[in-house]
Each structure stands twice: as C-alpha cells, then as structure tokens.
C-alpha cells in the first residue's frame, strides 16, 4: 500500500481550507471547515447528500465563494481568484463534455485557452488520449461514446492542462458496477503515476474506502472524522461515522467499567473491552450503543458460554463471503448481520437454526446512547 502523503504544514499543502463557512440563506452548508490536502494526496470527501461535500469542492473550483475563511491552492490564497485563473482540472458527475465538439476538440479546449501553440497542443492531446486509452477516437462526438469512454474523455480533458489539483464530483455514479470498479482502478493508477493531488467527492462509502489516501467523513456541514480509510473504518470517532462508513450492527449494552484506555461493556452475559476515548463523560451503568462490524461476529454452537443467543433468518451466499441475518433479543435493530469468509463461509445454516454469537472485541466501537 502507498504511504499516505505527508500532511503539509500550511504552505506545503496543495489545497488548504481554513475555517471556511458557507451559507445558503438560512442553511449553513459548511460550518467552520478546515482541511489540508497534501501534494499528491488522494483525498475523499464522503458524506450523505446535503452534508456540504460538494459545496467544499465548488469552493475549491471557485464556482462559489466562502462567506468567511480562506481557501489556498499551492500556497496562494484564492478566495478572490476566478475559476478560470485557478489551475484546476475538474470532472463532473455528468462529464459535461461539450456536445458540439469532437473528442480531440474537447481535450484541446483547456490548451487553447492557455494559448499553447498548435503542434504542442496536438502532441499533448495525443498523449492525454493515449493515457486514458482512447487513441483513435479523436473525431468522435461525445454522444457517440459509451459512458466509460465519455468518462475517459472527461479525465483526459482535465489532465491535459497539468492542473495543480484534480477535482472529481461523483464521477463514477453514472457507470454500471463492473465498469465502475475498473474505472476506479484506472483512475487511481493514473493519479499515482502523475502524483496528482486529487479531491474526490462521493456518497459511496465503499468507493471512499477503496480509493482514498485519506478521507474526510462529513455531515451537516462539518468534518466528523479525517483519516486513512483503515483508521476511519476501524476506529470511527462518532456514531455517525460508525454507521455511515461500512456495514455495521448496533447493539445496546451497559457500561460496567471504565479505566483509560479501556472500558468494559456488558451485553447480556458477555463482557466486551472497547477503547474508552469515545465514551468520555459516560457514567457507570449508562446505556451504551455498541457498533460491531459484521465480520467481527462469529457463529458458535448454541448455548456456548460467553455468547448471545440468536436464530438464523437467512443465509446469503456471495461467492467470496457469506452473509447471515440473525434475529436476536440483544440487538437494538431488527437483525444482526454476520459476514464470514473462508471455512466459516462453507457451513450451511438453515433458517430458524438456534445459534450462539461471539463478538470479537477488536471490531467494536462504543458510544453513549444519544
């Protein structure tokens, strides 16, 4: 795995948001957001619609101006710099390829505005199209291209100008699942090869987990957690992040012991040790929400000590892994989701089988009940 790019201190960052506030009428779209994106870093802004991620991207692009706070690209404050003077490459959700121009003209557009001489322009267009594997498509019109090809043109058009930062606004949402996966890999490869600073906006948490160097999980105009995907997945900092990123199960427990750095949660007969940092302020015997990843639950024979009792609802085979839905009294939501791989995935569990469920303390996050 690539090392996450070092996080710059102020002027070393490619893009900096400093205490940015943006309001639309009564709605606060961004509430005092600060974020530094290092050179060459692939930063994902993840969140549900309306969380402010797209607004943040538009501020970077200069489509919007902040109400207060500062935005800097390459160490230069750009609050008052119009979009066309910022060195950005942007890919839109619908690609926004110019329908009245062919592929080559689309890609050449940003070079023409920069008055690049013709022979160099032609050369760079050729190189950019080769990079996205579209050589030979120069004369096609966008409407005669498939969705994947259109996306490649959009990428070539954004890359050919050697932008300081690449801005991606949900570029994969219009593609079907298989194409999406291969385009993601390709995009990430190109991004690494060029060492291109990238801000990627998505509401798809699996996309965020698989692509990012770091990700900022956003909700209600704020960054709820900033970190590498592994860290966000393993150590969610609040309930929102825990439930939004990755599949999870929520169970209701009780705080029975707290001594930094660990706390102990009682779940029926079970005692589970969790990090105490997310439980600050919780009193003993306070109700606690325990979030457990489905791969950290394990099926055991019914009645085994240290487990909770449940009943199989369905078993769904996914090839690489198996998902089991379990009905149990201890969980606050309807069903528990258990995901197993390897030998565990080979076992058959007919509906209504009584089973025991063991929890691996590793994969738990606990928060006081809101």
């Amino acid at each position: 795995m690539a090392e996450p790019a070092p996080i710059g201190s102020g002027n070393d960052a490619a893009v900096t948001f400093d205490a940015v506030v943006k309001r639309f009428g009564d709605v606060t779209a961004l509430n005092n957001v600060s974020l530094e994106i290092g050179r060459g870093e692939f930063m994902t802004l993840l969140g549900p619609s309306g969380c402010g991620k797209t607004t943040l991207l538009k501020l970077a692009a200069g489509f919007l101006g902040p109400d207060s706070g500062a935005i800097a690209i390459d160490g230069q404050r750009v609050n008052d710099v119009p979009t066309y003077k910022r060195e950005i490459g942007m890919m839109f959700q619908n690609y926004a390829l110019f329908p009245h121009m062919n592929v080559a003209e689309n890609v050449a557009y940003g070079l023409k505005t920069r008055h690049v001489p013709r022979h160099e322009r032609d050369k760079r267009v050729r190189e950019a199209l080769a990079l996205v594997k579209l050589t030979g498509m120069e004369d096609r019109r966008p409407r005669n291209l498939s969705g994947g090809q259109q996306q490649r043109v959009a990428l070539a058009r954004a890359l050919v100008i050697n932008p300081t930062v690449l801005l991606l606004d949900e570029p994969f949402s219009a593609l079907d699942k298989n194409l999406r996966a291969s385009m993601q890999i390709e995009l990430r490869e190109i991004q690494r090869k060029l060492g291109l600073t990238t801000i990627f906006v998505t509401h798809d948490q699996s996309e965020a987990l698989s692509l990012s160097d770091r990700m900022a999980v956003m909700s209600e105009g704020q960054i709820r957690q900033l970190g590498a995907p592994l860290e966000v997945y393993r150590r969610p900092r609040d309930r929102f992040v825990a439930s939004f990123v990755g599949d999870t199960n929520r169970m209701r427990g009780e705080l029975v012991g707290i001594a930094s750095p660990d706390a102990v949660i009682a779940l029926g007969e079970m005692r589970i040790k969790v990090p105490s940092e997310t439980l600050s302020g919780a009193q003993l015997s306070a109700p606690i929400d325990l979030f457990v990843r489905p791969e950290h639950l394990r099926i055991t024979p019914a009645g085994e000590p240290g487990t909770i009792v449940g009943k199989v609802v369905t078993q769904t085979y996914h090839g690489g892994h198996v998902d089991l839905l379990i009905e149990c009294r201890a969980c606050s939501e309807d069903h528990l989701l258990i995901r197993s791989v390897g030998d565990q995935a080979l076992l058959r569990w007919p509906p209504d089988t009584e089973v025991g469920i063991a929890i691996e303390a590793e994969g738990c996050a606990a928060f006081p009940v809101a």
Partner: protein, 273 residues
Amino acid sequence: MTPRSTYQRLLGWAGLLVVILILSFLILPAAVVTIAAFNDKAILSFPPQAWSWRWFARALEYQDFRDGFKNGMIVTACSSSIALLVGAMFAFVIDRYQFAFKRVIEGVLVSPLVIPHFTVGLGFLILAAQIGWSRGFAVVVTCHVILVLPFVLRSVYVSLRNLDQSYELAAASLGATPLRVLLTVTLPLLLPGLVSGWLFAAILSFNEFTASLFVTSQRTQTLPVAMYNYVREFADPSMAALSVMYIVGTATLIALANRFLGLGKVLNIEQNS
C-alpha cells in the same frame, strides 16, 4: 394483447374521426384559398369552374405587391434581428441574475402579448406625429421589434433554462474567460434556441398587419398592408395566389430549419441530448 370489446372499438373509431375532423378544420382555410387561387375567373368564387396559373403571374407582377414584399423583407430582417439581440440579452439577465423588480421587468417585456396590436400601432402613430418622427422604416421596425420581442425572449429563455450549467463551469475550469465561455460554449449550444426565436419573430413580423396598417405609409407599406389595400379595390384571385406563395415560402423556411437544426430543437419541444 387483450381482446377489445365492441364498445372500446367504437370509441376508438369515434376518436379517430374526431381527430381527422379537427385536423381538416385546421387546414380548411388554406385548402379553400389554395383551390381558389387557381380559378381562371376574375372573381373569388368557390369552387372554380376553370383552372389557370394567371393570378400567380398577376400577383408577381403587381408593383404594390413587389414593393410590399421588399419593404416587408427589410422590416422583418431588421426587426427580428434587433429583437433577437435585445431579447437574448434580457433573457440572459433574467435567467442568470437576481435583482429587484425582476418580475416587473419580465411583465413589461411580455406585455405586448396582452396589448392589442392596433393599440401599439395607434400609440406609435400618435407618438410619431407628436415628436415629428417621419413615417419611415424606423417607426415600422421599432413597432415590430416591440411586437415580436416577447416571442424571442421566451424562446431564448427556455433554451437557457434547458442549458446544463455544467458545460459553462467545465469551460471555466479549463481556463476560459467569461467572454470565451460565452462565445465557444454558451452561444453554440444556444444556437437552436436563437434560430427558433429569430424564425418566430421573422414569421410574425412578416405577417403582421394591424399595427403595420397604422405605422406604414405608401412608401413603407408591407405586404399584408398592400394586400389589404388591394382587396379594397379588387376581388380577383391574385390575393389567393399570393396567399399560396406565402404558405409555401413559410413552410420552406421551417422545413429548412428542421433539416439543419431539427424541428424539435427549433420549436423547443425537445431536450438537447
């Protein structure tokens, strides 16, 4: 397919009949005039007893019609072009900017739709007399600009609404100045809307009669006015012949627009893909 009852079948036939009747009704006047145009007799009788092309020749030779056609072309070309320019600018401003009295300005711009043409014509006549404006082409063109402006405005405004703003944002992100965005992205993408607006304006202006009757003089009379003056003195089928040429001319124009731009786009009933 489910079997259809007699009742349903009857309803289907009745519906078809109604549609055919309505359509025939729409083209009825044009059909009557077209047939009358080929009447050999010097009266506008229907149906004709003998056939001839001679009224077409007569219409083409008649000096007042020739002048009227020329004047009409001048007025139409000037007024629809000016209306396009003014209307497009207003459409842009209304679509893109928020400002005080926006509704009021919109209302004023489309007001010629509710003010009768003779009122506009009369108003201009009084005004021109008052300020000593000679009844030349300027008065006629100005009057026509006002009458066709709402249609141009509407057409361009609808195209602007349908224009996905991300094209312009993409151009800006690629380093294009606002002027360059306008010239290389916005205007080319708006072209069908602009052409359709111009075309509507041209057809309306060329056919405009009521207001023109007030503001034209013997020297500047447009074709409809010349036709009116003709029909006051004569009642031969040359009027009908002229009407047929009118219809053919307009239809050709629309067919050409359809050929090169697509009628759906020109009439703004089709979304840009």
